[in-house]
């Protein structure tokens, strides 16, 4: 495949007078480990929402594997292989992890409309869910209501759910946000173990995580792309240091 896995062309979004995304053009090759950083209010969340289809752009286009998906609703983009995690957990509190994962897998396989068989009778779905539970260390918690799980476990389920969609492109919106120090290693391990052929765009505040994970970094400031490059270049760039790294106190 020659076309980038994920591409945006001149993506813009205005809220009244505010330009939250300003002519953003990104290209992520297949298997990319790309991080998107920027100070608060830089428009990272807006960009994610434009990519997933939660928001419609004022101008510009979103392409998945070279296909224009700008007009597609978010659930349709998921079917095209674009999945995301959320900065603030978006889980099903009264469903169990096993149920949540089977739901996601079943939807991907197009079994979601089946009304007369029990969800547990779908062997393929159950096997895959078991495997994901195992991989994310959720096997023991699989039959507890999600809202009763420890926060770190919920965070892992957040990522597992996105992976259950078998995405070709995965957007990780601050996966480590709010995770206490002692549960952080689990998240890092989970991120490191993500399938190599999945294209990943990581939106993150935590510079440590970004520099450990990303092979390319884009810096977003005031809705606009300030620069893009390898972690070393970005870290060394005086402009970036001025607007971003300096501000967060990281060196």
């Amino acid at each position: 495949m020659n076309a980038p896995a994920l591409e945006t062309r001149g993506l813009s979004r205005r809220f009244g007078g505010l330009i939250a995304s300003d002519n953003v053009s990104l290209k992520l090759e297949r298997g990319a480990r790309h991080a998107l950083i920027g100070p608060n209010g830089a428009g990272k969340t807006t960009l994610v929402n434009l990519l997933t289809g939660t928001l419609r752009p004022s101008a510009g286009a979103v392409l998945l594997d070279g296909e224009d998906v700008t007009g597609l609703a978010s659930h349709a983009r998921v079917r095209r292989g674009l999945a995301r995690t959320f900065q603030i957990n978006q889980l099903f509190g009264n469903l169990t992890p096993a149920e949540s994962l089977c739901l996601a897998i079943g939807e991907r396989l197009g079994h979601g409309g089946r009304a007369l068989v029990s969800a547990g009778q779908d062997k393929a779905v159950v096997l895959e869910a078991t495997e994901l539970l195992e991989r994310f260390g959720l096997t023991d918690a699989m039959d507890q209501k999600t809202r009763r799980l420890a926060y770190g476990k919920q965070r892992l389920l957040e990522i597992a759910l996105a992976l259950a969609c078998r995405p070709r492109v995965l957007l990780l919106d601050e996966p480590a946000a709010g995770v206490p120090e002692n549960e952080r290693a689990d998240i890092l391990a989970a991120l490191a173990a993500l399938p190599a052929d999945v294209t990943i765009l990581l939106i993150e505040h935590d510079m440590d995580l970004v520099f450990r994970f990303a092979r390319r970094i884009s810096v977003l400031v005031a809705g606009r792309l300030l620069m893009e490059g390898e972690p070393k270049q970005v870290a060394a760039d005086p402009q970036v240091r001025a607007v971003y790294l300096g501000e967060s106190g990281h060196d």
Partner: protein, 335 residues
Amino acid sequence: MSAIAAPDRVAAHLNRGGRWRPFEIAFWLAIVALIFALPSRALLINEILLAGLFALSLDLVLGYAGIVSLGQAAFFGTGAYAAGIIATLGVAEPLIGLVLASVIAGLLGLITAPLLLRGSDLTRLMVTLGVALLLGELANRNEWITGGADGLSLAAKPVLGLFPIDFTGQRNASLYSLAVLFALFVAARRLVQSPFGLSVRALKENPLRANALGVSAARRLIAIYGIAAAYAGASGALVAQTTGLVSLDVFDFHRSADVMLMLIIGGPGYLYGGLIGAAFFIALKDGVASATPEYWEFWIGLPLVVLVLVGRERIGGFIARWARRAALLAMRGAA
């Protein structure tokens, strides 16, 4: 970790709702026993069963899909009138009338469901209420087919040509209602633990995430609303067939409100809530009304307020806990 047995554990967990627990078997057998033990209360039992079916329909909509509705009577009434009209057209078999009536109500549900996809709970309350009012007025105006204010009276023929369900066969009537209720309950039980049921529950829990997993909210909500409408239609049709009467009050607001009360009392979201709530509500109403015919509404209102203020606890949950404790004691006794 038992890696070998893991898929079986996951499957067993997902299928857990399918196992019939002793409590459930006892519940249904008790109804059959009541019908035979209390022939003089057959009418009341029938009323409870049909209100329970109606509440089950609301449970699918409110308890599982999270769609608040104050107009479930729209489908109840449609089912009742459809069954009445079908009978007056000369279709003798009640089962055929029942199926047709609930299909018609279900179709009406599918048609009106798109109105509920946008907006808040408040708009949904208003829209569902409005649809029921509209249908009530339509029934009032179209006297030529509905009988207008006089209503329709129908002489239901025996079910399958064998079991009379009119006033000569009140026990048959409640057995007929019970059979239909049970069949639809089993179907609902399957439905809520199917992949479709999971997706509907997920949409209630977190529509944003459900969407991000590829669930198409509109389709699923329209489908569950249509199914619930068919359930409500079935209960309306059964009321028409077993009482032999359809009048304009089938579309009344109080029906939608009562069924909501029943469901809340019994507890939404676990299928039995509507049945238990209906039994509680109607038995209470019946008991109070015969004790103090003048002020019965006061004595209905009081326990409801107390229930909400003090208990904040559904009756069903209480019974389930009590049953579990009894089972535990019995097990200990056996050991």
